[in-house]
Symmetry: C2
Subunit: 238 residues, 2 copies
């Protein structure tokens, strides 16, 4: 079922298909975690319904944002949201496979690459299911995403990703092996006394060793209300 | 200057030389983070004045704990504290180099290995300074410690270490490369809104991929008092 949701930012909206992957905390926190120079050229690997490019447009004075997406249905939804938000000049969607990035973007380099890659191993999963494709390593693995990011980034360009803490060792290892050195790490906890649900990572192409682990991002106070920081991320001014 | 300090646990005390490395939060938190089966055989790599073995004796029904230390002066201090605490039956100190572990412990295997390894790069440091040796990679690197731990651990044995967050990527990478898979990670923050000062890591020899990042350990409330958990670690019953 198709549905139009508000994003609480600049009146932007998004078309979502409730039978497919719908955006969640991942996309909101990743777009808030991203930092970039004004007019930076940005690529979102596995953009889905373009939720991350749209949120980035709301938050940043980005240059052009390109979203790469392999699933035809998602590309159609993404286009619809981009037109509805009058963002055709700022976002474009390319239909294609992350593994073909060297061909698709031959000769093009980006300042910033972002991704919310699949984080579950892909065995025994229905490969026709769009939700499964977004979450599981069916059509691409974390390593495919990281290799693609390395390929299209300028030297010293930044890669931002959101991932699951139980695979943080894999993420950090794959990033370093592929010369994207992890520089900033932040864990996201529902409550201060709970294990983290997400981890946000910034890596720099050719960066020096040595990273900065930030204070934890806590989403809820003990009374169940959003913390001041989480409220700011969801509803605050960009 | 030599000094006798209380440990707030079972009336144990420790002799420290204020011109050398004195124990701190690192040792207290590491000994609290360690888990072990009753009667586990334990090795502490770079034991210094034996603070970690003594704290482990206070907290755990460990079997025998061996401390390996390269600095003669520290070995003498360690022996003095062990005798003062009547722990000669539970702790023994071996003078030797972590890099010679395969020779020193030929044929011996341990259930648990712990270490508070040096965490600063060793360039341009006075190699005669005992404080510097404890903190900098002069006489051994993190990789030397991890290789030694792998060598002396039984299959599926546990390695516990405390380290600095700015080098957590190095630590996780070196552990995995040496077949000690990181399984539990905990960051320690002075306050909830501050970056972590320490990271505690448990790795398992030959363990499967997939790790558990715990809730942050917060040391102080906003009023400056120890949190309930930190108080328990410092002064609570074992």
């Amino acid at each position: 079922m198709e549905r139009l949701d508000e994003l609480h930012r600049k009146n932007y909206v998004i078309f979502q298909d409730t039978e497919k992957f719908c955006f969640g905390t991942d996309a909101v926190l990743l777009s808030s975690f991203v930092t970039m120079q004004k007019n930076a050229n940005v690529l979102d690997l596995g953009t889905g319904n373009a939720i991350i490019p749209i949120l980035l447009c709301a938050r940043h004075n980005s240059g052009h944002i390109t979203g790469l997406e392999i699933q035809k249905d998602s590309v159609v939804l993404a286009q619809k949201s981009i037109e509805k938000n009058l963002l055709e000049d700022r976002i474009s969607i390319v239909e294609g496979d992350i593994k073909n990035v060297p061909t698709i973007f031959k000769g093009r380099k980006f300042d910033v690459v972002v991704s919310n890659p699949p984080y579950m191993k892909g065995q025994d999963i229905n490969a026709q299911d769009a939700k499964a494709i977004a979450r599981h390593e069916i059509l691409c693995t974390l390593e495919d995403v990281v290799k693609a990011a390395f390929y299209v980034l300028k030297s010293a360009g930044s890669f931002f990703m959101v991932y699951r803490p139980e695979r943080v060792v894999d993420a950090l290892a794959v990033l370093r092996e592929n010369k994207l050195e992890p520089k900033i790490i932040r864990f996201v906890h529902a409550n201060v006394d709970k294990e983290p649900k997400l981890v946000l990572i910034k890596a720099v192409k050719g960066g020096k060793m040595g990273c900065n682990v930030l204070a934890p991002l806590i989403m809820y106070n003990s009374d169940g209300a959003l913390t001041a920081e989480a409220y700011q991320i969801y509803y605050g001014e960009a």
